[in-house]
Symmetry: C2
């Protein structure tokens, strides 16, 4: 049996009881380390699960699927995935390979940012399509996310924006020399995300977003209520301009996500999120005047 | 501390390790039984958790929040919620009450249908807003879902349709006589859902959906891979017409959900779901000819 097991959002205790049983029954355990990061290291997972874990980067899950699937028809093998196995990245490819080798597959679900984003208080019903925002370079500023946000905003829907992560990047020099030396991981900050979004708004100038009258909610480490201090979940909301002006530390540690708030905003949601506002007065004023929420 | 704990999708083992610890630390445990159903009974949960559980229907969570929150500033109280606490229903109201009484709240996330729907193989990125479909009566056929589906389809996005559940319904006679006798729970079947959807399509006639050329995916008991036979997850896909013609038992046991497939369909997704097709040939033909997927 190949188990594909969602680890949830935060640390080793976010696995489900069913998932933990599957890990313990497995003769080999792989951790997919590409699409997201778990907030604990491999050793802590190994101690908790009582199992050795092989870190499998995306290349491996895609190109060395044979190794992962080896003898999985005779013994249990677990592939651990941060969040849910069908979160931002589906694992269609490895499931199809397993199927064609007659290996049974069982998926063990968990929370992912795609549903835990509800922690900001906005109804999940009113989210449109999710978008990804990649690091811009001087010469490469992909702006297709802007069309998706426009589509959502046109319907009054909220947009979950997933911010880029760079792991296993090589410097140009190391790449040129074929040296497999990797740069430290980089995580897009909320300020950078907002600045990229507003840059495209001013280039495209389609009035989809406005620094002063578009509300947004920044989330960091969703689901990590259990930690203390900087490792805790943090939610900060305000206008895009306000968010762009906050010092980086006000958003907590990565991973970050951003929600661009659409017009289908309920007054109770405004009250709920007010606790997280950079400035309560501005939050309420924009919600009332621009979003049309009836606040007392 | 008030813990609001997602139980996940299927049975007592879908709680996370963190959630289980919180339940065990709590002096009182409530199970919210309204918005969804867990597929195991209260006694099985009580045995597994080693705790007595009070079933709280929606009325209670809304009107007797005081009881749930009683002394939660001094001791741990858990409110268990099927799926994720911020799934289809947010729990904003009880969190706001807790806040105003100075009671700390911790949310423990889990899978919900809003992310586990990815099990059908479609990218979550390409889902639009989620809709609910309620039981029609002779005189009440709310059709606002149709506008939401049209909006999604216009953008090529998939729509997750959540099917109505009726629990604690009273017959007209019992209601009139004030007798608190409730009918057995009812769960909307896939056939009924498709029939209601097509009824509104023929009334509104806006050509959003077509019996023969709109693809859909029916899901039952998502995440319940662990059971056997009828308790297992089941996925069935085809045109709306094909789904409407299947016998009820082909869709497995409730709860059911339905995905209406939008045009942003990738050929790998077609191949993945083909395994679940009522008729592979039709599935592939419509995907190729109507959805424009390049299949070999």
């Amino acid at each position: 049996m190949l188990y594909i097991i969602g680890l949830g959002l935060c640390d080793e205790k976010d696995i489900t009881v069913r998932g933990l049983e599957a890990v313990k029954s497995s003769s080999r355990v792989y951790l997919e380390a590409y699409t997201s990061i778990l907030l604990v290291n491999k050793e802590r997972l190994e101690t908790f699960y009582g199992k050795e874990i092989v870190v499998a980067d995306r290349d491996m899950v895609e190109t060395q699927a044979e190794e992962i699937l080896h003898e999985a028809d005779k013994q249990d093998v677990s592939l651990l995935v941060v969040g849910d196995p069908f979160g931002a990245t589906t694992h269609i490819d490895i499931v199809l390979r397993a199927r064609s080798s007659g290996i049974p597959v069982r998926v063990i679900h968990n929370a992912s940012i795609m549903n835990a984003v509800g922690a900001c208080g906005l109804q999940l019903y009113n989210f449109g399509q999710t978008v990804s925002l990649v690091f811009f370079t001087d010469t490469w500023k992909p702006d297709s996310f802007y069309d998706r946000v426009r589509e959502n905003m046109g319907l009054g829907l909220h947009t979950l924006v997933l911010l880029d992560i760079k792991v296993k990047e090589q410097s140009e020099e190391n790449l040129a020399r074929g040296r497999k030396i990797y740069e430290p991981p980089r995580y897009m900050s909320i300020s950078q995300a907002v600045s990229q979004i507003l840059e495209i708004e001013s280039l495209r100038a389609e009035n989809v977003l406005s620094p002063k009258t578009t509300l947004a909610i920044a989330l960091s480490r969703v689901g990590c209520d259990a930690g203390t201090g900087d490792t805790q979940q943090r939610i900060v909301c305000g206008t895009l301009e306000q968010l762009s002006e906050q010092p980086p530390e006000s958003f907590g540690e990565p991973l970050h996500s951003l929600v661009i708030v659409g017009k289908r905003l309920h007054h109770l949601e405004v009250v709920y999120a007010e606790e997280y506002a950079v400035c309560r007065e501005t939050w309420r004023r924009v919600a009332a005047e621009v979003y049309g929420c009836a606040l007392d």
